[in-house]
Amino acid sequence: MNRELKRVSGVVLLMFLALFVSTTAIQVFQADNLRQDDRNRRALLESYSTERGQILVDGQAIAQSQPAEDQYKFQRTYAAGDLYSAVTGYFTLGQGSSGLEDALNNELSGTANTQFLDGINRLITGQDPKGASVELTIDPAAQQAAFDALGNNSGAVVAIAPKTGAILAMVSKRSYDPNLLAVHDPDQVLSAYRSLESDPAEPLQNRAIAGDLNPPGSVFKLVVTAAALESGEYTPDSTFPNPPTFTLPGTESVVTNSGEGACGSQETVTLSDALRLSCNIPFSELGISMGDGTIRDMAEQFGFNQSVDVPMASTPSVYPTDDLGDAETALTAFGQQNVRATPLQIAMVSAGIANGGDVMRPTLVESVLAPDLREIRGLDPSVFGSPIGEDTAATLTQLMVNNVENGVASNARIGGVSVAGKTGTAENGTGEPYSLWFTGFAPADDPEVAVAVVVENGGGQGQSGRGNTLAAPIAKRVLEAVLNK
């Protein structure tokens, strides 16, 4: 009987060996994979009960975690929720997050790879885990100016420092208060989320970088002009026929200029005047003779048709990628048809022109600071693309300055500062209110800030509002806020 018992002992030993092996496999070797599984609620819950890092603007916390009395230990609060909602986004318990809270979750929750050693250190020294803080590039004065100037309009503002790509302002309206979604009661979160989502003003859309994109209208003429000048075949003095109406090739559709007449009184019109007066017909003619490929190339070099991480991923602005006929090309040449753009993209166009042709990669992050204030990551300006050369950039700057000083962008003038700018008044279809645009930069000779503004729904004025009357004054206040510092 003892011989059998010995064998049974061996079997029992093997059974336990299997358990030792299986638990080791799970708790050591597979642990990382299991922790990263999307369905792992513990990893999520744990990230809620660590002290999440602050989001800072000029050293002031706009989002921070404060000790709370419940099981999650910390309550996320937003000091100026509405003002920064397009930047911070929201952070809920288990029901998703958005904006920087989502894009920088690893850093803020302290789980980024760069913070691994800190995590070990805190584990050994018995300190509670803590996430990194993020200092933003936002200029609070510009942010406030943009927020106030947009008022009750639906729209967005993006301001960029052309030389670095640092985003100085990012506002989207209607804004919302992320504090409503940071509460710990899931039912409250859900009801707050549902009411925000069903709000016809769509406050959860970040119109600065995403949302339902607007046609850029005439601000897209900057891209078309850049393509024309960069091709070497056109100069500002190149002339185009100047009829009062233009029938699109192969169709019966008719294009008119916004003034319902010819562009000036001459038989022909120069590229320079066409841009200054923002006439559509000369640009249609230019577009047809350049072809959609040339325009598309330039648009894509400025960033169209691709997403940019700021670090939130932007929705790609669109220049149609299928081959276009002449009629369609003519319409895209003044930013209609299926061209769509975010204010971020349009600001990048201005910033590229302002920076001598180099578009810097836009970002919101100035630095990532470990809990001991050591800098984990700093601002590292890099070139996103160089769509145009310095000469073209200088010419375009001149044209844009002219546009503000003597043209249709007059409401962006600032006393004592030369401002470069371009307006846009884009149609959204028969009877629909316009999307009103302005983009530009200042000072024109040494640009500190480039800005793009979009006002949706015609700014409440249906089809009678213009980019110059509604969008340009908003841009002006943002430019002033940065320059007056």
Partner: protein, 464 residues
């Protein structure tokens, strides 16, 4: 005869030489047990204290003191052993105490997370059941002075065992909980009679096999290089197989079914020395289980075992959600755990019963799981030791059966949680929430203590 056994016998034969010292041996054993029991109780108290600090941040005597009252009962059992079983194994009681205490700490920790207190609290009920179980264990020790008495009641044991097994199938008192019909209930009181049945069946198997081993050892046809039993001797194994299949089909409890059948196969192998019984048993069970896999729930368990991370399996009713959540818990604990009271074991369903090891593994880490597994292994090895040293075949078989059933149960439930085998519903001995399981395992501990006392107490002249 193998070397180890020869060596043991020769060691045993030397024992009369230090006869003078043997007078003090029982006292030494009991003193060792006392130290270990105090040590185990201190660990249990520390675990409870840490749970309170981790989960509520303060010491709360309202649960701590009653729970530590169990230490007094354990000490009472220790004192009883000094008088009625002075030669008993000194490790069994401390191990049972420690496992039981860690289980209570784990269950209490979950109660804190669930926010239940008073009689709603599973931990409070667990403490009361533990008290009752220890009292019953002491009673067993007092009543059962000679284990050979049990051999006489082998057929009564069979009757009781089968009755207990089949009780849940009766209308009125049978209850189905979480899909398995293995409970009986009267009012709010529910009980899993199958847990007690395993003791009765171990007694029956031991008694029956001692008498029937000779005929069962007779060989029939030779096949695959192995001599198989005669067809007319297949009766018993077929009866047990049928009972196991009935449990599988009608009570929908794969774990219990596997446990009883595994117990029988191991005991018949030890009794007869015929490996062919094991082969036969395995074939019968796997064949039966595969036929039963056509029943929805067994097939579902297999899928959940093989592809738990598949989204459709994960989402399925009775799918792998619980298993995967338990794995997440273990992974969350990692090597050293989150610390008692600081994990999130409450995320896993049934965290205080089937998944108690995942709960403790999350907060104590791999280190804690290894310690717990080592305690079980030590417990089982003490039982096998009695089997090696025992002088009567009935006692040997009984101690092997009872220890093996603990080992197999640990393997089935922890192996299920850690994906060694498909997950089946069984309780983790001494740790999982549930009165019937506690009662059964404390009785097993008492019987093993009695058997070990008999083994050491009796002169070695009995023929091996």
């Amino acid at each position: 005869m193998s070397e180890a056994v020869t060596e043991m016998i020769s060691r045993d034969q030397q024992r009369p030489v230090d006869k003078a010292a043997s007078v003090n041996v029982p006292r030494r054993l009991r003193n060792l047990e006392l130290v270990l029991v105090l040590f185990a109780s201190a660990i249990n108290g520390g675990a409870l204290y840490l749970v309170q600090l981790g989960a509520i941040g303060a010491f709360d005597s309202s649960f701590f003191l009653p729970a530590m009252g169990l230490a007094v009962l354990v000490l009472g059992m220790h004192v009883a052993l000094r008088f009625i079983a002075p030669h008993a194994d000194p490790f069994i009681l401390p191990i049972a105490t420690l496992l039981n205490g860690l289980g209570i700490a784990g269950i209490y920790r979950l109660d804190l997370a669930y926010g239940v207190a008073g009689w709603e609290s599973v931990a409070v009920r667990q403490v009361v059941w533990t008290g009752l179980a220890i009292a019953v264990a002491i009673t067993v020790l007092v009543m059962l002075r000679n284990h050979r008495v049990l051999q006489r009641y082998r057929y009564s044991a069979m009757f009781v065992g089968l009755l207990l097994l089949l009780l849940p199938m009766l209308p009125l008192i049978g209850r189905e909980i979480n899909g398995a019909r293995v409970w009986i209930g009267i009012g709010s009181f529910s009980f899993q009679p199958g847990e007690i049945a395993k003791i009765a069946l171990a007694v029956f198997f031991a008694g029956y096999l001692v008498t029937a081993r000779d005929s069962l050892s007779m060989v029939g046809a030779k096949f695959l290089g192995m001599r198989f039993p005669r067809v007319r001797d297949l009766g018993p194994i077929l009866v047990i197989w049928a009972a196991a299949m009935a449990v599988l089909v009608f009570q929908r409890d794969l774990g219990t079914s596997l446990l009883y059948f595994g117990l029988f196969v191991v005991m018949i192998y030890v009794a007869t020395g015929r490996l062919s019984w094991v082969l036969l048993g395995l074939l019968l069970f796997v064949g039966g289980a595969m036929a039963a896999a056509q029943l929805g729930y067994v097939g579902g368990r297999l899928n959940a075992w093989l592809t738990p991370f598949d989204q459709s399996v994960y989402d399925a009713q009775g799918g792998s959600y619980q298993l995967v959540t338990g794995l997440f818990g273990l992974a969350h604990g990692g090597l050293i755990g989150t610390g008692l009271g600081q994990g999130m074991p409450n995320v896993t369903p049934l965290a205080n019963s089937d998944f108690i090891i995942a709960s403790l593994g999350e907060e104590l880490g791999l280190a804690g799981v290894f310690a717990i597994l080592a305690l079980y292994l030590l417990f089982v090895s003490r039982g096998f030791r009695i089997g090696f040293a025992g002088q009567d075949d009935f006692g040997k078989l009984l101690s092997i059966g009872l220890s093996f059933v603990v080992a197999l149960q640990v393997f089935i439930v922890i192996g299920g949680v850690t994906r060694v085998i498909p997950l089946t519903g069984l309780t983790t001995p001494f740790m999982a929430a549930g009165g019937s399981s506690l009662l059964a395992n404390w009785i097993i501990a008492a019987v093993l203590l009695r058997l070990s006392d008999t083994v050491r107490n009796q002169p070695r002249v009995v023929v091996q």
